[in-house]
Symmetry: C2
């Protein structure tokens, strides 16, 4: 049966990336060795990491002010690592609380300094992006989550602020053209638009580092990773290689302009269907709807289970809403073909006609 993979992450990857990754597990670049068996300091792997870094800079159109790192862990690791590197005990950082991941980031930052809420959309269950920001002028940085995977909202225009901008881009990185140089620090777990779980991309403007007094454990110190070219310790070799394959695919397909065009097309198709069909409803503010994760509900709650079961029967994976929210979530990352959105839209239409 043909599967349609709407997983929220780990999520769908391009078929050719999977084929290349599988091949490298057996025989990496005709070395006769597996990518899992080669030393991380060999020229073989150093060329992998160099190419991956160069591709990130090219896709983001960044110069030498920014450094690209591939680090162990996921975004949750960065919730700790960002304040550990940027925020001294008696200093302030401003955080936007527009979703569950933003809330968690604030909680971790408060272990390191004074993390204040610049805005919150909790009043409406995070169904919109609160853009009225109150940023204490002494803030070391402003932290935003560019796309809220769980709630299905997304920043479409970033805040214009004087303090350094730090962004968790885990779930919409490389999905659109952005003025990346406006960000002081960007981080993203790889398992949505960039490859396999187990590696973080961190892009950091070097001038914001080295300004705090706290001693930082080596493995958490961005400066030590920069000095060591992401080879401070054994890095997550396979996850970095899969990121390289995915970055190559993005470039080959036409780069971020093409990813953005496809994302808009897929999201328009899905949201217009949700709006048109009487069986479905969305609680998300229209101007803040995520192009990556569409969160919606059955207007009649009794229809939810039958609809999710129908999806399962038809080979549609990962459409159940987040455990604390319920409903339906359809994730449309870069690798999801338009064909899959057509398939679920057809199913929704058929279901609505029968059950509305």
């Amino acid at each position: 049966m043909k599967r349609h993979n709407f997983n929220s992450g780990p999520s769908i990857l391009p078929q050719e990336v999977l084929e290349q990754a599988a091949k490298a597990i057996i025989n990496f670049n005709d070395t006769g060795l597996s990518i899992l068996e080669i030393g991380h300091r060999t020229e073989w792997f150093v060329s992998v990491i160099e190419e991956a870094k160069a591709l990130v800079k090219e896709l983001m159109q960044l110069g030498n002010e920014h450094e690209v790192l591939f680090l162990h862990g996921g975004a949750t690791t960065q919730f700790m690592q960002v304040p550990m590197n940027l925020l001294d005990t008696n200093e302030t950082a401003a955080y936007c609380d527009n979703g569950i991941w933003g809330s968690k980031a604030i909680k971790e930052a408060s272990l390191f300094g004074n993390a204040v809420e610049a805005a919150s959309s909790k009043d409406k269950n995070h169904t919109y992006i609160n853009k009225s920001l109150h940023i204490p002028p002494e803030s070391k940085y402003l932290h935003i989550t560019t796309n809220n995977t769980v709630e299905g909202t997304q920043w479409h225009h970033y805040p214009n602020t004087n303090v350094p901008l730090v962004a968790d881009m885990s779930s919409d990185i490389f999905s659109k053209q952005i003025d990346f140089k406006n960000f002081a620090l960007i981080y993203a777990g790889a398992q949505k638009n960039m490859g396999a779980a187990g590696v973080n991309l961190v892009v950091v403007r070097k001038d914001i580092l080295g300004k705090i007094k706290r001693p930082i454990p080596a493995i958490m110190d961005y400066r030590k990773h920069i000095e060591a070219n992401s080879l401070l310790n054994t890095p997550p070799v396979f996850a970095i290689y899969t990121a390289l394959l995915t970055l190559r695919w993005i470039k080959k397909e036409g780069g971020l302009a093409v990813m953005e065009k496809r994302s808009i097309e897929k999201a328009n198709l899905l949201y217009s269907t949700i709006d048109a069909l009487p069986a479905f409803t969305s609680h998300i503010a229209k101007e803040d709807r995520s192009l990556m994760n569409a969160v919606f509900f059955l207007r009649n709650p009794a229809n939810e289970t039958p609809f999710l079961e129908l999806c399962k029967k038809e080979g549609m994976v990962g459409v159940k809403g987040y455990r604390t929210i319920g409903g339906v979530r359809v994730s449309m990352y870069n690798a999801l073909p338009l064909e899959s959105v057509h398939a679920i839209v057809d199913l929704m239409t058929e279901f609505s006609n029968k059950n509305a």
Copy 2:
């Protein structure tokens, strides 16, 4: 050309593990999805992690006092995470400095509390294991590195002490039968005997946790990972799956008794050759020689480059000594076949006969 993989880590894995891992990248367990594309909270992946945990407990013969975790990062992450969880600011922990990794562990621990040297073999460039331990009685734990990958030494009998024993087993885990229940905490980066880089195995006796006052960031808190069954955040899915495949292989081959028997046979063959041939010499104390990593030198330094080049020409990978030590290093992890040791022993004999 047939390759012989003597890499020190990432290092050789069983061929069948590589084949199964490659297959799962395309189609995991006949789900029609890649292991890289499935949610970590699906029953598919939960059964992977449950089986991996059960196999660790079975191979280690551990009961319910210990918990098994699979965490992001490598041993360098644990250098920080262990003291962060176990050592309060004004408390003492004893560390053995018998090699470069032990030294690094002490340095990281000193950021969290009073890390004292219980013993050091620095006086002889770490060419032996100093077993004369001075452990302050108030120590929260004693930390040892069971095998020194860089220097080529190994503890063959563990210290008998009243304080909880913490061990970095990154480079000899699952290579021999050990009374694992004597350890309060064991950690190991996976990329030697256990699979792909990017995941740590942590085995911890629960009663040592929760005894410090320091607030611990969520992603670093062992208790939070125990509560969440290693699913606190998106774990390194593929690295955990590869660990499962390797654990299955170890069990199928006969378990730790068989791994130990093979290791002894391989190491005996190599060390007896080093001792017998005039061209080679070892500086390591005989009783402390590592069964995993044999570090040795050409008696005539001018022969080093020609020997390493001959190895390269004959398809032998990873035999160059560590960058700060030089010489030759031959790693003989579980997956290395005896045949590969025979191959390098034959080459050494031929080289010695021609050049001694």
